[in-house]
Symmetry: C2
Subunit: 93 residues, 2 copies
DNA sequence: AATACTTGGTTTATATTATAAACTGATTTA
DNA sequence: TAAATCAGTTTATAATATAAACCAAGTATT
């Protein structure tokens, strides 16, 4: 049976990717409130997605506050779509 | 965000449930070959699904060999459908 | 101006999970 | 009768997810 990409088969990472697929960019705070994740968990999962090359995170300042803006990379986009396809075969959808 | 039932959000358990949803009964050997899982892993995951009440396993003899036949329970069926629905909202399908 | 509190995170420790390896007990085959 | 094989189970380990604790900078409070 075809593997489900383990990087995406994780509740929080999937939620994040799914948001980023529809939105073209989103910051840490937004992702945190949308997913209701803790900051620590979100931070870790964003790191993993970044390490995999599925997203990129740009840290900038807005006024005097830091802001981490995330967007999905082309590779992440492909991976997401492949994951959804694989899931379909698992679920017979 | 709505939770993805962690009992189903597991590659192997999901594959098993998905097979059982379409087939009304399947034995250990069949599930093993369809999923390409190791026997140990399959055994553990069947236990968890059983403990959750999502499947039931009947052990019988066929000739002199043991046979474990699995089928999904009504509760398991409901859980599976709820999971699929939850996933749809994650993936915006 | 010192103190406490919030914001936007990161690090680290822990609990849970998945998985394979090792094992068991019965059966067939050489 | 010894060696494979079958149908699983148990157990040890590796990987994962998650929250708690922490940090640095800014903001409000007394």
């Amino acid at each position: 049976m075809k593997e489900l990409d383990p990087l995406l088969h994780s509740q929080l990472r999937l939620a994040v990717m799914s948001i980023l697929m529809t939105v073209d960019e989103a910051d840490f705070v937004y992702l945190k409130q949308q997913t209701a994740a803790t900051a620590g968990n979100l931070s870790v999962q964003l790191d993993k997605l970044t390490a995999a090359g599925y997203i990129e995170v740009e840290k900038c300042f807005v006024g005097k506050k830091t802001r981490s803006v995330c967007r999905v990379t082309p590779e992440g986009c492909r991976a997401f779509e492949a994951y959804v396809e694989a899931l379909r075969t698992y679920l017979h959808l």
